[in-house]
């Protein structure tokens, strides 16, 4: 099946009902997307499909046919959000971080504080208390 993965054409064979999260981690060897809950509650597996954040644990592989999928690896490690999370304490244990960053990417440049709170409401973090994450998202636009 063909789709676009992190900007490059991809052709991957996998069962159509396999979770996108598992295809990314197992077939594509992209292990940045994490499985937290597996039921769409925690946001750790967030990726962009056609520019919109979705939880990849609730997406069957068949539904990304011809779509553009972007994972945390697609940001290349140098994205302003990645730097800000590292420098401003937005990441502690790190499990929620890829999903947080992908949800934050979808907010676009310079989001307002309420926009950030709302945009990240689908992502759970058990370390930071969220304030450092909000600071990092704001810091990335500074």
């Amino acid at each position: 099946m063909r789709f676009t993965l992190n900007g490059a054409p991809a052709e991957v064979e996998a069962p159509p009902m396999k979770r996108l999260l598992d295809v990314l981690r197992e077939e594509c060897a992209l292990t940045g997307s994490k499985e937290g809950c597996g039921e769409g509650e925690c946001g750790a597996c967030t990726v962009l499909v056609d520019g919109m954040p979705v939880v990849s644990c609730l997406v069957p592989f068949a539904q990304v046919r011809d779509a553009e999928v972007v994972t945390i690896e697609g940001l290349g490690g140098t994205h302003p959000l990645q730097k800000a999370f590292a420098e401003l304490g937005g990441a502690q244990c790190g499990i929620c971080t890829p999903g947080m960053i992908m949800a934050a990417v979808a907010l676009g440049p310079d989001p307002g504080f309420e926009e950030i709170r709302r945009g990240l409401a689908g992502n759970l973090c058990r370390c930071t208390g969220y304030e450092a994450i909000y600071r990092a998202v704001q810091g990335a636009s500074a």
């Binding site: 069962p15 159509p16 009902m17 997406v59 069957p60 539904q63 949800a103 979808a106 689908g122």
Partner: protein, 266 residues
Amino acid sequence: MDLLEPRSLDDALGMLRQHAPLMPLAGCTDVFVALQFGTETARRFLNIWGLDELRGIDVRDGVLRMGALATYTELGRSPLVWEHLPMLVAASREVGGMQIQNRGTLGGNIANGSPAGDSLPVLAAADAVVVLRSLDGERRVPFTEFYTGYRATVIRPDELIVAVEVPPVEGAQWFRKVGTRAAQAISKVVMAGVRAPRPRIALGSVAATVVRLPQTENALAAGSTLEEAQRVLRQEIHPIDDVRSTAAYRLRVAANLLGQFWAETG
């Protein structure tokens, strides 16, 4: 697990006729959770996510028509929904988080039939109509007659929900969901109301299905005081204790929500 991949709505209806039962898959925000929990009994699925005929939101002759695949994100951003059914905008913005709003669909919320479904009290209070289609044609079912019991509906195995139609709603619309937190939480009680000469009130999470409250509506329409109407409401619903809340809490909150609805729309 088998997944059938129709190329058009007619193709999908043909597959349903030939291969039913099939579980339609739209945004998968309920079905994939059930698969993960091991509670989903279906093993053959129909991928309708790509059927553009089921998308789109428009108004014809004053009737708001929302395609079954309209996502919460689309509903929450639609100028037509803002204009005609603002209580659905409010409901859509409180479903899950952004990730769920990008995938969850109106048709899916109806088909899943959870008593806690966020959009369902809105559709009940709006006197919405569910448009079902099979190879034999379309039929329209009033939303208030759509459920026959807990997660049981009138939908036949060869039918798909294709759209929801909402006739013009006169009066101020109101919605509130009460849960443990704003996002990613299933409601303990959820209410939608329309403040018209005959008020319309619907509640979720207090019965096996979403319910309208005709006795409470009648009391208010007849000029009862709010306190009298709240007494009627407490007699009219029979919520249960469950993992999310208690019957006593739900009764109290439902009565309080009626008060808030009345105060904020008066």
